[in-house]
């Protein structure tokens, strides 16, 4: 780490220690407010700390991990987290990409008005709009069911049935996130040189031919990066599962993050909660490393 690297001319370039002053706050924060707490968290996952053993607790080794794997809760939550993240990202990224394709068609009038109205879900704080959606989707009194009644559709248990609750979460997530995906995909679509489209049209490709032979191959890496980090973000998305359904009905809509929070703040099982958090992190790390190995998507960063 302290050996200097050879530079282009083969001369050993010296490290510039002065640069450390520029990033001193970052280093302090990394050390004291990220790695130290992280260490505590890993340590706590190996103890039996809970509200019953708040100050006097023992190291129990991997017993927490064994317990949550043995009880089957982990696999249930993990499955729900995977369903939630995959379903959401397919909906959001797919919808965002389609919308971006529609908006980047040449000669669409009024696209400014559309673009501005699509900003609304992104611009309004999510904490509030999720609670608004909770009211909209209420079974008895919610506006969505009242509106559907106009068309003779009977009331739907949006948040009251396990499968519907998960779908409702995805719909709300779609509403919240499609603007972001539409905007980033629009930006990357506009980065494709126009001449390539014209050339492909000359060669006789239709709309889908252009999409499959020009657009997608060119934007593969960008799309992979946006989608993978969207997946990671959704995996860790706390507010939708917490505010919209709070895990219910039963435990059918808990995901790892919201379940960890529930263990911490309601069940007060700190050791077990930390074990859940660590498992979640390990999953994501393995996922990102594997994906990166196949798509080399990190190269968009350097």
């Amino acid at each position: 780490m302290f050996r200097s690297k050879p530079n282009v001319n083969g001369v050993r370039a010296r490290y510039e220690w002065k640069g450390m002053i520029f990033i001193l706050p970052v280093l302090v924060v990394l050390a004291f407010l990220d790695f130290y707490p992280l260490g505590i968290s890993i340590f706590l996952s190996l103890t039996n700390r809970s509200i019953a053993h708040l100050f006097v607790y023992q190291i129990v080794g991997l017993r927490n991990y064994a317990a949550i794997i043995g009880s089957g809760t982990l696999f249930k939550i993990l499955e729900q987290t995977a369903v939630w993240s995959t379903g959401s990202i397919v909906l959001m990224a797919g919808f965002g990409f389609l919308l971006a394709l529609l908006m980047t068609q040449p000669g669409i009038s009024g696209s400014r008005i559309y673009r501005t109205s699509y900003l609304v879900p992104w611009a309004y704080p999510a904490f509030i709009t999720i609670l608004v959606w909770k009211g909209l989707l209420d079974y008895q009194l919610g506006f969505v069911n009242k509106f559907l009644a106009l068309f003779g559709i009977s009331k739907i248990f949006w948040l009251g049935l396990p499968s519907m609750a998960m779908l409702s979460m995805m719909i709300v997530n779609l509403w919240l996130s499609f603007p972001y995906y539409t905007y980033v995909y629009t930006a990357s679509l506009q980065s494709v040189p126009k001449e390539l489209y014209d050339a492909a049209k000359m060669d006789g490709y239709g709309t889908f031919g252009v999409l499959g032979n020009v657009t997608l191959p060119l934007l593969k890496r960008q799309i992979a990066f946006i989608t993978v980090f969207g997946f990671v973000f959704t995996w860790n998305n706390f507010y939708i599962p917490f505010l919209l359904t709070n895990g219910g009905p039963g435990t059918s809509t808990y995901i790892l993050v919201s379940y960890t929070y529930y263990e911490q703040t309601a069940l007060l099982q700190y050791g077990i909660a930390s074990a859940y958090a660590i498992i979640s992190v390990l999953f994501l790390l393995v996922f990102v490393i594997l994906i990166n190995r196949y798509t080399k998507m990190m190269s968009v960063l350097y």
């Binding site: 780490m1 450390m20 990033i23 990220d34 992280l38 709009t129 609670l131 509403w175 860790n236």
Partner: protein, 308 residues
């Protein structure tokens, strides 16, 4: 018979066919365009409706969620009343709106200013200097962004209660600014990467020292990313619920998110929905307006600073 068809007759026929073909293509294009607009309009309605819904509700004399109906959604000017807003500013049902508003502004304002001030040079440090362990630091910043915040909740509670910082402003401003420092450093670095070195080098030829050149030339050039990160660092604490819920128990130190949740969400059907709507507008509209004003920085800046 082919012999009976004259040269000009053939020509006319070809013209007729191509005209029909053109008309056909024009019609297809027209239908395509109409469908496109239809889809775009439906999506726009889907996007805007919940906000329209909450604004209309906040301005009508509603009692509960039950009194929301399809007809109460129609914009009728004579029905407008500000009763919900007035009720919110009078202390009732445990609502301390003014205190929570002040607290929220203190948390979000102080921590965003502090966090961004501390990270203003970090992008330059990470982009322009050959720092030992530079790559490791960058990877750590990236990997940390995949960590869920819940992993920090208990350790933060432990740390801050040892330091007697729970139930205090400082105990919240520290973690908020810390998270701002981390993402701002990452975004700053990517932004500085996109600025050519020519500017600072020109300044150095003009007689500035390197440090002077970096501070006087490069730092002012990072204004867009400073505005972007400042806004993001403000938005985070503004609607934080999860962390403040653990670190603060006194309702005189709550922010608006905690206050809103505790006073309008705990008992679901009995709550005064008009008051919730007014709360949602008062809390959300300022952020919405700031976002629309600075959308140039937020929307395009996001893609420049997250990936290139």
């Amino acid at each position: 018979m082919i012999n009976n068809v004259t040269e000009s007759g053939l020509q006319r026929r070809a013209d007729l066919i191509s005209a029909r073909k053109n008309a056909y293509f024009r019609r297809v294009r027209k239908i395509k365009r109409i469908i496109t607009h239809l889809v775009l309009i439906l999506v726009a309605m889907f996007a805007v409706f919940p906000i329209y819904y909450i604004i209309v509700n906040s301005l009508s004399p509603l009692a509960t969620l039950a009194s929301v109906s399809v007809t109460s959604m129609l914009p009728i000017l004579s029905r407008i009343s500000f009763g919900n807003y007035q009720a919110l500013f009078v202390f009732q049902h445990g609502v301390l709106l003014r205190t929570w508003l002040t607290n929220t502004l203190i948390y979000a304002g102080t921590s965003s200013l502090l966090g961004i001030a501390l990270s203003i040079t970090s992008g330059i440090g990470l982009s322009r200097f050959r720092i030992p362990g530079r790559k490791a630091i960058l990877y750590m910043l990236l990997i940390l962004s995949t960590f869920p915040f819940v992993i920090m909740v208990i350790p933060f509670y432990d740390m801050f209660s040892t330091l007697h910082l729970t139930n205090s402003y400082i105990g919240l401003i520290i973690p908020y600014s810390a998270s701002a420092v981390i993402f701002a450093a990452w975004m700053n670095k990517n932004y500085v990467d996109s600025i050519p070195r020519d500017f600072e080098e020109a300044a150095q030829i003009d007689g500035y020292s390197r440090t002077q050149a970096l501070f006087r030339i490069l730092v002012p050039m990072t204004k867009p990313v400073i505005i972007l990160t400042l806004l993001l660092a403000f938005f985070g604490p503004y609607t934080d619920y999860a962390l403040i819920n653990v670190l603060v128990s006194k309702n005189s130190l709550w922010n608006m998110a905690l206050g809103m949740y505790a006073t309008t969400q705990i008992s679901s059907h009995a709550i005064n929905y008009g008051m919730f709507s007014a709360f949602a507008v008062i809390m959300g509209l300022p952020i919405f307006i700031i976002f629309i004003i600075f959308q140039k920085y937020l929307v395009s800046g996001f893609s420049i600073t997250m990936y290139k």
